[in-house]
């Protein structure tokens, strides 16, 4: 589904990603771990199409199609979703209205009619129950005055609504207490199926106890320095990132 080939990318001549290779197939969950500043969030943003970053070498393919010159919204229409570490507040636009806009824009891009109102309401009800979201919450302005946990839960609610093919969850566990983490992880797990793929980006192993990955990759200085199965995450937790750093030097 997703193929990242020898990806070099940066901003204003500063290279942040130094040759990333990553292949994610349908039905898989990948975890990308790494110390602060290793390029995790940059990788997520580049896959989602953030224009601020310049790709200097290599490419990103989605279902065999090169994503060069594909805007973030076009990628979204093709089924890419990015859950933000710091979701943006939009005063005056309710969660419900925002979701209506997002869903109908994607439908428009695919040549479909707007989703009928009753269908939309049904979908919103179903997905908000999945994430244990209160109805009142849906009429609040998007992310405005939301707690950290509410923001993250709302991100996964959006993911549930948009049903992406490829979901990238950037530090979804940061700022969550254990109850919120469980709700968010449960939501993600219920959305897993054989046709979609999830990339979990995290600093800590904690989230991976709930969202169990098929593969774990360790990112260091813009490169994947180690890949393995879920046991790698445990090993990292135990030995710390210095272990990887030292190993890389050797």
């Amino acid at each position: 589904m997703l193929k990242v080939n020898n990806l070099h990318a940066g901003v204003e001549g500063n290279e942040i990603l130094n040759g990333i290779n990553l292949e994610v197939n349908a039905g898989e969950v990948h975890a990308i771990m790494g110390p602060n500043g290793s390029g995790k969030s940059t990788l997520a943003a580049v896959i989602a199409g953030k224009e601020e970053f310049e790709i200097t070498e290599g490419n990103i393919e989605l279902d065999g199609e090169d994503m060069e010159d594909t805007s973030p919204e076009e990628r979204a229409h093709k089924g890419v979703f990015l859950s933000f570490q710091y979701p943006v507040e939009i005063p005056g636009v309710s969660v419900t209205n925002f979701m209506k806009t997002a869903i109908n824009e994607s439908r428009k891009a695919r040549g479909q009619e707007d989703m009928p109102a009753n269908e939309m309401l049904k979908l919103i009800r179903e997905k908000s129950e999945l994430l244990e979201i209160d109805r009142k919450f849906l009429s609040r302005s998007l992310n405005e005055g939301f707690s950290g946990g509410e923001k993250k839960r709302n991100e996964i609610f959006q993911m549930a609504m948009l049903e992406p093919k490829l979901a990238i969850l950037d530090e979804t566990d940061s700022g969550l207490d254990i109850d919120a983490l469980r709700i968010v992880a449960n939501g993600v797990n219920k959305l897993r199926n054989k046709d979609n793929a999830i990339v979990v980006i995290t600093h800590y192993q904690r989230l991976l106890e709930y969202i169990v990955p098929d593969f774990v990759h360790v990112l260091h200085e813009g490169k994947i320095v180690k890949s393995g199965t879920k046991e790698l995450a445990l090993e990292l937790e135990e030995k710390g990132y210095d272990w990887i750093k030292n190993e890389t030097v050797v």
Binding site: A45, A48, G49, K50, E51, E52, S71, P72, E73, R75, A76, H77, V80, F81, L82, F84, Y86, P87, V88, I90, P91, G92, V93, N97, F98, K100, T101, A102, I103, N104, E105, S106, A109, D114, S141, Q158, L162
Partner: protein, 443 residues
């Protein structure tokens, strides 16, 4: 150019004699007019050497050969101007066509409240007492454009709400220009009085219906007695050959609330002089604005709040979005007298420039003589947040719509306090159309 500049002023001053032929020169108001024309004759039009007019030039307007009195009376069909009314709901309407009252399009009342005409109030003896007490009492006797209006004051809206009364519906004040004159100068004069515990809502709009030049120099005096509540909405969405100088003067007594919302979405040159005088305690003065401009449009918001008594509040929140070569000015002056302890005065002016060629000049001016006050002010000028745009794009919302949604969100605080739901919807739609998008839902 210098000679031309003299012309409009001279034309106005010499027209005063002709004007006098058509008004009651024995009325006490005429003494006020005569004083006013002298002041204008001395001062002339303001120019950019004056601090208050540093960023707004009236030179180009003065080159236009404006008609001061329209030559013939014009009629309009309701169906042709219906969109400019808040026709979704029932309202009182005071309508002027080329400055002349249109009884056909208006709906006035004298049932318990007076919602009618300045010309009638100046003519009929039953209003004389009110006119004597209020007329020109809060308007400046010194500021040249205000005195120019005072000199020619004759027509406009007259609204008097007695103690404990509230009109059954909002009041619309509408001015249409029909283009019968190549260029027309309008000088409406409004007097609005809310006695104790009275409450009212007003919507004011100026609309030029052709591409002929129009300039309006308007003065509105508002008096809010104890516990009175006034909501005033100014919808400024005129065409690009219409200019407006709006001089609004508000006098408030204890526990009154006066809120003015100004939506500046059109016009060529707009200057809003909004002046609040707090003559009592526990007063709330609120002024909010949304400005969205493009092309070479220019809007200048000059606010003044004079805190003259203790325990009062003032709130200012102006948002501006400037595109293309448009220019904006915000100058917010707050004076807190020594006696006015426990004053809370807040001022906020946030701007987004969406073009490299757009300009905003923003300046807070605080003169605080009391020591136990809370005053805050903040001005920001920025571009749209790239991260926020990216966030919306990753949700499948195209960049242009995403930008519009963010600009809408940016101006939302101001809209929240609009208390007429149908007006709020209208303004939302106007803003969406100004931003050039059709969003997937009714904002």
């Amino acid at each position: 150019m210098e000679k031309k500049t003299m012309d409009l002023k001279e034309k106005l001053v010499s027209s005063f004699l002709a004007f006098e032929n058509n008004v009651d020169v024995d009325h006490p108001v005429h003494d006020i007019r005569s004083e006013a024309i002298k002041n204008f004759e001395n001062k002339g039009f303001p120019n950019r050497k004056q601090e208050a007019w540093k960023y707004t030039s009236l030179n180009n307007l003065q080159k236009i050969d404006f008609s001061i009195f329209p030559k013939k009376i014009n009629a309009l069909e309701y169906k042709d101007v219906k969109p400019y009314f808040l026709h979704e709901i029932d309202t009182y309407k005071i309508v002027f066509i080329d400055g002349i009252y249109s009884s056909f399009l208006s709906e006035t009342t004298h049932e318990g409240v007076d919602i009618c005409l300045m010309s009638a109030a100046l003519r009929k003896p039953m209003y004389k007492q009110v006119i004597d007490v209020y007329f020109n009492q809060v308007a400046s006797k010194d500021e040249s454009l205000t005195t120019l209006n005072t000199a020619f004051s004759k027509e406009g809206a007259y609204i008097y709400i007695p103690k404990n009364k509230m009109p059954k519906k909002p009041i619309e004040i509408l001015h249409f220009a029909t283009g019968n004159e190549a260029a027309l100068l309008l000088q409406p004069r409004n007097l609005i009085i809310a006695e104790e515990n009275a409450e009212l809502q007003i919507i004011e709009r100026h609309q030029n219906l052709t591409s002929n030049e129009v300039m309006t120099n308007s003065v509105t005096e508002i008096f809010a007695a104890k516990n009175a509540i006034i909501d005033y909405y100014k919808v400024q969405n005129d065409v690009e050959n219409a200019s407006l100088i709006d001089n609004t003067y508000i006098s408030q007594k204890s526990n009154s609330t006066v809120k003015v919302h100004t939506f500046s979405l059109g016009g060529k040159l707009t200057r809003n002089n909004l002046n609040y005088y707090q003559n009592g305690e526990y007063i709330d003065s609120t002024m909010k604005g949304v400005t969205i401009l493009g092309n070479k449009q220019h809007v200048d918001h000059h606010t003044l709040v004079h805190h003259k008594e203790p325990n009062c509040e003032s709130h200012q929140d102006y948002k501006g979005i400037y595109g293309e070569k448009s220019t904006g000015v915000f100058n917010g002056k707050i004076i807190v007298d020594k006696i006015a302890q426990k004053t809370n005065a807040f001022q906020q002016n946030n701007n987004i420039l969406i073009s490299d060629k757009a300009t905003i000049n923003t300046k807070p001016q605080l003169e605080i003589f009391a020591d136990d006050v809370k005053c805050s002010h903040g001005c920001t000028i920025g571009q749209l947040d790239e991260e926020a745009l990216f966030y919306l794009q990753t949700r499948g919302i195209p960049k242009k719509e995403a930008a519009a949604l963010l600009m809408y969100a940016f101006s939302n605080n101001v809209l929240e306090s609009v208390r007429i739901p149908e007006l709020k919807i209208r303004i939302n739609k106007l803003i969406a159309s100004k931003l050039g998008v059709q969003l997937g839902f009714d904002l």
